[in-house]
Symmetry: C2
Subunit: 360 residues, 2 copies
């Protein structure tokens, strides 16, 4: 599938195309099934399809393929695609519920899932529109989660493989939910650096890196229920690098590149490691100003610009960028010394570069 | 386990005790696991335990036992209990999300799951308490759902049986979610009698009757992935009888007996079959009054009393009671002519009586 001359971006787009095609096949089938129940069910699966297919880099299903390629396997790639895309359903489930929780309006540059229902006049009377949208989003997320497990249950793998994959899926959901719960609390309470790092490990490293890679290995029949420690460690460091960079992007990125409103993390009062470091380094006056902005619904662009400036001048931005690079280096070192097959090694190394260099 | 002289209530309480004990064992284990993650995770599993164990009749896990008893099986009862209780986790998942959607404050006579977080001062600042509670409830419900699947994945049954049970579980979740989604829409749009009946079939008959019974049969190894049509039909009619009676209870019951606030269905603007019939039979003036009350947040007791009176005098109450009894009769006839084993037949017949006679 890959030659050495292919660049990382080329590889990504080849796999992205495969994944997108597979997702479309799946959703077309599910739309038919839902249409038999009700036109409203059909519309919701269509919305799930649009939400899942819009933007997004398909990193997680691609990592299933890469995890599969870490080992020698005679299973054909075609066979693993329907299971690989279950990761995108899990992702849609998390994002839909997360956007309700964070009261986000935009996702991937377009309207958040629940906001479609909240703002659709044919669907709701004006009185309750926010709550109506959230209600539809709660149910839509629940459905996405269990359509994800369906992809595994109904796949062509042996009973043993399917059960191992389902177990991995459900454990990951519970783990990510703990991360999400702690994240919700982190906007209400002051958490330590250690606690914030734990959230990041629970909420990002698992479902973004470790679980897709382990799933690929399960499908290659090289791992049964026993998880690989090396994959775990690589994922933890990739996940931290990714999330630290993400926290920077969400303050310093433009609405265009990140697909979310500027200053969202501030508005939500999200206490990221970047924010923690900034508060630690800031003057009393700067601290008061930042605390005043946190959780403020009508935060102005000039407030965000001033916070950016504080993050720069206090050295907090530098500090977090350095930490992201350190995590990236650890991940790269682990990958280099691993016994993964060469093409998986190459991709993961390039991915490690990508997670801290990306603009979106 | 049962003798002919045992009354239905005695049988219920014997099984309730077994189920409750099993739930406690499960939750104690999960509390330990969560405690290793964070004291907040531990607290949430404790809340899930309290929520799941409070009140509740354990009808669904008991129906797993009864489904199991519809066939001759040499599997010991002890072995099926850990899987039977997965139905209570599914139930908690639905109730937690449903209470957020319906903005309910009470459940089973106590505070709703998300309300615990919304009103707990050590946990949240006052500013966002409602949304904070809902956020914690969304995550708590998600966790309950996947702890439910975990009970199946980690049970002692063969891979084939566990996969069949997981498939049943996930299909039921998706089906019930469609019912829930249509139910949300039914408070925004005018639905026909046929559409309301479909909601009832999707939202109640499946997870309350059919899925527990089919799960029991899967565990008895008498049914693989193929569902039994008779069990389906019995469940549809039991489900309708149950829900029609439930709609009556939620208007005519007291807060004490139903464990929810009086007039909740009115406040939520829920368009039940009872309400549809009432509007159909009511005078223009009565219709205007009822429509005015629907979805009204601060509905007064006297408004509810007047609506009760309209439901009585227009004959709508009688009509729905009769329909509930008709559904019950169909269910009983199907059970009578079935080839289920005698003790399962007896229990299901008594259950059919119970669903339309109960006070709570």
């Amino acid at each position: 599938m890959r030659t050495n001359s292919q660049t990382f971006q080329e590889t990504l787009s080849i796999y992205q195309e495969l994944i997108t095609r597979e997702l479309k096949i799946f959703f077309e089938k599910e739309i038919q099934i839902a249409a038999a129940i009700s036109p409203h069910a059909k519309l919701m699966v269509e919305r799930l399809q649009e939400f899942t297919l819009r933007g997004g880099k398909r990193i997680r299903p691609i990592l299933v393929i890469i995890g599969f390629q870490t080992c020698n396997s005679d299973v054909p790639l075609d066979k693993i695609l329907p299971v690989a895309i279950s990761m995108e359903l899990m992702q849609s489930f998390f994002l839909i519920h997360d956007d309700i929780i964070d009261e986000d309006i935009l996702r991937r540059g377009k309207i958040a899932f629940h906001q479609f229902y909240a703002t659709n006049n044919t669907y709701c009377n004006a009185r309750h529109n926010v709550h109506f949208g959230e209600s539809m989003g709660i149910v839509g997320g629940d459905i996405a989660a269990f359509l994800g497990t369906k992809l595994i249950t109904e796949s062509n793998f042996s009973q043993e493989t399917r059960l191992a994959a389902l177990k991995l899926f459900q454990e990951e959901v519970v783990k990510t939910c703990w991360g999400e719960m702690l994240d919700v609390l982190a906007s209400q309470q002051k958490f330590s650096e250690q606690e914030l790092t734990q959230i990041l490990d629970l909420k990002t490293a698992g479902y973004s890196f470790e679980t897709p890679l382990q799933l690929g290995r399960i499908l290659a029949k090289k791992s049964s229920e026993e998880k690989d420690t090396l994959v775990h460690n690589v994922s933890i460091h990739l996940g931290r690098a990714f999330q630290l960079h993400d926290d920077i992007l969400s303050i310093f990125g433009t609405e265009e590149t990140i697909g979310k409103s500027i200053g969202n993390d501030i508005k939500e009062g999200k206490r990221t490691l970047l924010l923690l470091k900034t508060l630690e380094n800031a003057s009393k006056e700067q601290q008061v100003f930042i605390e005043h902005c946190l959780g403020k619904n009508n935060i102005q662009l000039e407030d965000v610009l001033r916070i950016r400036e504080i993050m720069r001048t206090t050295g907090a931005l530098d500090h977090i960028q350095t930490r992201a690079h350190q995590e990236q280096l650890v991940a790269k070192e682990l990958i280099k010394n691993s016994k993964f097959l060469p093409e998986a090694k190459e991709f993961l190394t390039e991915l490690a570069e990508y997670v801290v260099d990306r603009k979106s």
